[in-house]
């Protein structure tokens, strides 16, 4: 290979004037984390609501939950981001559309909301499976005790269901982090975007992508470690995950 390696490139000043190339990548990493957390909050809140809705006895509620999940699962994330970013402002009343277009950091908010909605359908499916995995008797016993439906979910079903789905939720969170990279297409310069920019400015393709790769791997490692700790903390003695 006649590729000219230059690992010192990270400590050379970047053309943006904001420090070295390494600073550039680190700011990208930070934006990836921010976007992923923002998206994850949306995914967790909406996913929980829809996941619960899908397990309710009401036919209409179940149908709404089904339609919601199918809507967000059957379109590529990239297309969804385009819909929110390019199409939505045109379909809204003029004044609202203009406000949306002029919003500062529009690509950040679009990415957060877009990835969040996309992932919420997956979170909903996981939570539904978790609730479905509980023995029927739990709901029946809770109802027999005189708890309202809301109380049954709040005090009996959800505390157990969340514990069951904690491991799959970890992988959904990792997917959220990875999916923020798609937002490069609507102009969000997160970690992958910064690596791409560094490659274009410095022509050191492989150094830039290696650094981004290492950062993603470390981020994954941190998340997995933290989630393992959380799993151990909330584990209930007597269950497989408990002591």
């Amino acid at each position: 290979m006649n590729y000219h390696w230059n690992w010192h490139i990270f400590f050379e000043p970047n053309p943006g004037g904001s420090g070295t190339y390494l600073d550039m990548l680190l700011s990208g990493l930070w934006l990836t984390i921010e976007t992923a957390l923002f998206a994850w909050v949306i995914a967790l809140v909406l996913g929980s609501i829809v996941g619960v809705i899908r397990t309710l006895p009401s036919k209409a509620a179940a149908w709404f939950g089904f339609a919601y999940v199918e809507f967000f699962r059957n379109m590529p994330l990239l297309v969804q981001l385009f819909l929110w970013f390019f199409v939505l402002p045109e379909l809204l009343p003029r004044a609202w559309g203009l406000w949306l277009k002029q919003l500062p950091h529009a690509s950040f908010y679009t990415a957060g909301v877009g990835v969040g909605l996309f992932m919420s359908a997956r979170v909903a499916e996981q939570l539904r499976a978790g609730i479905g995995a509980l023995p029927r008797g739990q709901k029946q016993a809770a109802t027999a005790l005189g708890l309202t439906t809301a109380q049954v979910y709040r005090y009996v079903l959800l505390p157990m269901a969340y514990r069951i789905v904690l491991p799959p939720l970890t992988s959904e969170f990792l997917s959220t982090i990875k999916n923020t990279a798609v937002a490069i297409t609507i102009g969000l310069v997160e970690l992958t975007g910064e690596a791409r920019a560094m490659q274009e400015f410095s022509f050191q393709v492989f150094e830039a992508f290696t650094a981004a790769t290492v950062m993603y791997l470390l981020l994954n490692l941190v998340v997995v470690t933290l989630m393992r700790l959380l799993e151990r903390r909330v584990a209930i003695p007597g269950y497989i995950s408990g002591k």
């Binding site: 059957n74 390019f86 199409v87 992958t192 393709v205 993603y216």
Partner: protein, 230 residues
Amino acid sequence: MFSNFDFDVIRRSLAYLFYEGMTFTLTLTALSALGGLAFGTLIALMRLSGLRLLGRIAGLYVDFMRSLPLVLVIFWFYFLVPYLGQWLTGSSRPIHVGAFASSLITFIMFEAAYFSEIMRAGIQSISKGQPAAAQALGLTYGQTMRYVVLPQAFRNMLPVLLTQTIVLFQDTSLVYVLSITDFLGAASKVAQRDGRLVEMYLFAALVYFTISCFASFGVRRLQARIAVIR
């Protein structure tokens, strides 16, 4: 809200969208799924081979691929493949690799990690007695896998494999970052040429949605039909 819509732009570009774009998308999906399955099965066999080193290498590969965003992997291979080709062919400069070949290699390598996990689950779902019985009959390792284990593993995992292929179908839209004319790329090119982003992106969304919906409906039907009653 739809008053200043120009639906004609869709009709005018239909041929381009489907002959150029959708053909690329579907060919890439089909070939990546087949390649990913073949390569993924190999990785799964490596992981379950019982040979420490081989298993470790396969495991590392899967974990590595699964912790990276697909967009980054697409960029990696786009720049790496010409150098790999140079190294393999021994030519004096990085070889030229077309858009299709580059994205095909990317998707096969990336999807293999995901398909291998599915195949591993499928192989592990076969009871231990079967390979033991096959060995007792005098079948070699290759024959055991080829005639006893893999056909059943494949059948058990078929719905999951097909669902993963639908995900792959949606993921191929990401070749957009290399300005390749897949279905979304074609829609986007028309959209930007004619200034009709709203119509084109809504239409693209509708097409992806319809195909994925029908496909997942078909998978659900298939799952109900081929389920083995135990």
